[in-house]
Amino acid sequence: MFPGRPVPKAKVGLDISASEDGYIVFQPELDRVHFLNHSAVLILELCTGKNSAREIAELVQQAYALPDPPFAKVDEAVANLKELGLLELD
């Protein structure tokens, strides 16, 4: 991890339920519920506050044995998670 690089972190206390093929995350205060598929689950779980988005992409690459890290898809997913309030703000 490089100093100063944003490291996404999942919000503490998210109301997460496991479904057959992903997560269901409730945000009752916002009247919202989110369905995350398996790759979004992994990305959310890797948002530990220690991995940059780039590092998460590299871990996703390893997890799925991909030829290349899916940087763009992870960046977008992290941005979406943040926009939806599932990640801590920087």
Partner: protein, 219 residues
Amino acid sequence: MANDESSNRIFDQLDPSRRDFVKRVLAGAAFAAPVIATFSIESLGVTAAYAQGASGSSSVSSSAPSGSNPGASSGPCLQDLGYVGPERFEAHVADTSGNTRVNGELAIKIDGDYDAARSAEVRLDMTRDSVVTSAYLAINGVNVVNLPLVEHHEADPHYYTGKICSSDIMNLCDFDALLQSLASQLVTAFVLGTYLGTSFSAQGAVVPASGGAIIQIKP
């Protein structure tokens, strides 16, 4: 899934209480673009009382809109009487955001043994250089199934393939309800992505494919 060393490096970082679940979800799964489908609890609360197939999402990224309940699930689920209707459906999708002129063609074919078919093959061909990050079918603006598409880079134009099955259905009673909604032309296809770095949002009505067969699926 990756080898043990890589797996350990990944799973050791996860919340211990959810580690086993994440392992199970990922086991044997091929990478699909991340999907985060968002709904209002209020809209799901009405639907959930009679939705039988709401099992989360399974495909490509981004947020599906929340909104009113799909017409097909606006009442309790009645007894499934099977499906009689077209075997194939198609949609021409085009960017309505005004950002690009990306367009493409979505094809859906019900597959398998028609006595028990509860899945469909999906193919999406998009403008060259476009990258699809999310695709789903919606009724009245409500996501009813994410399309778990896998990209095939070697072709021009890019095309994506995937398969939807009963467990992918959301906010509808069952897979047959999706088929009936498709046959009744209630479904709109949404495809989100980027074209050379510019985001696009393409959509189009799903209609029965011309010249397709009529099939019968038993309950």
